[in-house]
């Protein structure tokens, strides 16, 4: 094998690929399943954005916490939430990660540091500051990562949280997943600055913009910020410019996009294809090795869907449980 020019060892390259492939397979399959009408409620798919969640989560351990968005499947998978439990949750089953009580928008697993997908945009930013506060008091070097989109980046909660994290040197990374659209509204319309990272300086926080379809760019920028945060250097803002392949929600006709936009993006800005090309061209990983991962990811998702469909529904008793610890 050739020399490895990448910042990741081969095993980690394969791990990154597996994470991204698993997310992609999960989301593509959900797209198909949702169209059959069997999935209740709203789903918001992360397909096309895999490099962002993956590149960041590779730096995280059990002491770290993630506050996610409504488009949270990618964050959950990258953070290690069980894929079977996630699928069952989306189908509203009792074996779901949230016992069927939360659904796609509220998947959480606090044992894995996943503070929840969140249906309220921007709500995760203060929560991640709270994780930062807890980590500081415990002195465990933990960090809080808050993901939010280009739309939510304009929420007051996000702006307040940036200032709060800055004055208290909280170990928080604010990640703007700038995929160009807040629902159907383009970022150029809704935001006065061209780069969200430009706002960071205004808050006294270091900010960087990267190509969110480049796993290595995300990995390296996130690595620096997380390392600095762990060492007590305070918060940072990481803007990832990226693409979502699907609509805002499943069922979105996407007429706000240019007619060939999705096709072009899949052809030229697919973060998984771009990664695969780079690592195979460098001779570090072979196409055959990647194919194995492809098949394993598909098979895992197949299994997750089958077991979700076969899983039991919650019962009437479940309606009333877990409102309080004790009442």
């Amino acid at each position: 094998m050739s020399n490895n020019p990448f910042p990741l060892a081969k095993a980690d390259l394969l791990r990154a690929y597996r994470t991204m492939r698993t997310i992609r397979a999960f989301e593509e399959r959900l797209h198909v399943e949702f169209a059959t009408g069997e999935i209740p409620g709203f789903v918001h798919l992360y397909a096309g954005e895999e490099a962002c969640a993956t590149g960041i989560m590779m730096h995280l351990t059990d002491v770290d916490r993630v506050a996610s968005t409504h488009r949270g499947h990618g964050h959950c998978i990258a953070k290690g939430v069980d894929v079977h439990e996630m699928m069952a949750e989306i189908f509203g089953k009792a074996t779901g990660a949230c016992r069927g009580k939360g659904g796609s928008m509220h998947i959480a697993d606090l044992s894995k540091g996943m503070m929840g997908a969140n249906g309220i945009l921007g709500a995760g930013a203060p929560l991640a500051c709270g994780a930062g506060i807890a980590a500081k008091f415990r002195r465990n070097g933990g960090v809080g990562i808050t993901f939010f989109g280009d739309g939510a980046a304009n929420q007051g909660t996000v702006l307040e949280s940036m200032n709060l994290a800055a004055i208290w040197d909280l170990p928080v990374v604010f990640v703007v997943e700038n995929n160009g659209y807040a629902e159907s509204t383009a970022v150029g319309y809704a935001t006065a600055v061209d780069n969200f990272a430009d706002r960071a300086a205004g808050f006294g926080v270091p900010g960087v913009t990267v190509d969110g379809t480049d796993l290595f760019a995300v990995y390296e920028a996130a690595g620096e910020m997380i390392k600095r945060a762990r060492a007590g250097g305070g918060p940072s803002l990481l803007e990832c410019k990226m693409i979502r392949f699907f609509g805002h929600f499943e069922g979105d006709a996407q007429t706000y996009k240019a007619p060939d936009e999705n096709e072009r993006n899949r052809a030229t800005r697919d973060c998984i294809k771009l990664f695969a090309q780079r690592v195979t061209q460098a001779g570090v990983v072979s196409a055959a090795e990647l194919s194995v991962v492809d098949r394993e990811a598909e098979s895992l998702i197949d299994e997750a869907v089958s077991s979700a469909k076969a899983a039991p529904l919650p019962t009437a008793r479940d309606l009333l449980t877990d409102v309080y610890v004790a009442y």
Binding site: C98, G116, N118, C129, G130, F137
Partner: protein, 339 residues
């Protein structure tokens, strides 16, 4: 060992005792100590009315003065609770809930349920409530009904220093999100309070006065108005039973129903505005569950359906008075068919 201290001193003691007992208890709020970053005294204020004064010198960086960012710091307190700490965040005036309500309503209240039981959010949000301070419409409301309505929240509103200390200690130890309401007009009221630590369970109403002729139910400042009314009624030979709810969620309806089964007459007093008030909630529940015991239509005595006015003469009309309560009791003594 009993000695008299004020309601606000009792709150200060509760916080101090719990912070000494449990290192995961932290206190956050605007000017909670005061003087942060300034040239003069640190711990200059101890909160706007001095309730938390003295905590910063004792507990240092566990007392955190925040910027003017309720969404961020109330949310951060909630996030820290979800990560295992026990934050006590001060939302200076409960009227300010508007600027951070999502974090309370859609985050803290719902984590346990939405996440299938797998989250615990032991946060306490302390806030001043109530009128009489001439602080006008945006600093004087009794918004307890709004929080009581939300599943997943607990709501506490003590009427005296003894209850304040015991209920705040209980709130901090409780594993659910608690909205701890402190009536600003009761802050200087002194009661006998033990120096040691003690916790008062939720959903245990207190019978502040026994009586056989009518049941008067209230919380916070209204308990005192009800007791005043009871004294006036006693001069006319009417013995009122006064029940202090102490906690609105969970609520002790059993004590109220037991009393109504004995007196047959109910007057619910509430400083909140009338629609969807705690008074309306009590009357509806008692009517539904103990209709047969009632000898007369239950009465509600509440603030009017208006914001809180500024001019003292108007504010004093806004707050339910002892005379209004006496008037309501009189209505329960008219024959059931009469208007």
């Amino acid at each position: 060992m009993a000695r008299k201290i004020s309601f606000k001193q009792a709150i200060n003691e509760a916080l101090d005792l719990e912070m000494r007992r449990d290192p995961s208890v932290i206190v956050l709020g605007e000017d909670t100590a005061g003087g942060a970053g300034a040239a003069g005294e640190r711990d200059a204020w101890g909160g706007p009315l001095g309730v938390t004064k003295g905590l910063y010198p004792k507990h240092g960086d566990r007392v955190m003065d925040t910027p003017l960012s309720e969404s961020a710091y109330i949310g951060a307190a909630i996030g820290a609770a979800a990560c295992g700490m026990r934050p006590v965040a001060e939302l200076m005036f409960l009227d300010f809930m508007g600027v951070c309500f999502d974090q309370i309503l859609n985050q803290a209240a719902k984590f346990k349920y939405m996440f299938g039981g797998k989250a615990t959010t032991p946060v306490v949000i302390r806030a001043m409530v109530g009128a009489g301070f001439r602080a006008a419409a945006q600093h004087s409301q009794m918004l307890t009904p709004i929080f009581t309505h939300v599943p997943g929240l607990k709501v506490v509103c003590p009427s005296n220093a003894y209850d304040a200390k015991g209920l705040l200690i209980q709130s901090i130890r409780d594993d659910d999100p608690v909205i701890f309401c402190e009536h600003k007009n009761l802050y200087n009221l002194e009661t006998e309070v033990p120096a040691e630590s003690y916790a008062i369970p939720f959903a245990e109403a207190y019978v502040a006065r026994e009586g056989k002729d009518v049941t008067i139910v209230g919380y916070g400042l209204m308990v005192h108005r009800a007791l005043e009314a009871a004294n006036k009624l006693a001069k006319n030979g009417i013995e009122a039973e006064v029940i202090d709810l102490r906690t609105l969620s969970p609520i002790d309806l059993d004590t109220v129903i037991e009393s109504v089964e004995s007196t047959g007459r109910l007057v619910a007093v509430d400083e909140a505005n009338p629609r969807c008030s705690i008074a309306a909630d009590i009357v509806a529940s008692v009517t539904e569950k103990a209709f047969g015991a009632l000898k007369a239509a239950p009465q509600m005595v509440t603030a009017p359906h208006t914001p809180v006015p500024f001019s003292p003469v108007l504010e004093d009309l806004y707050i339910p008075s002892a005379d209004a309560i006496v008037g309501a009791v009189s209505k329960t003594r008219k024959p059931a068919m009469a208007a």
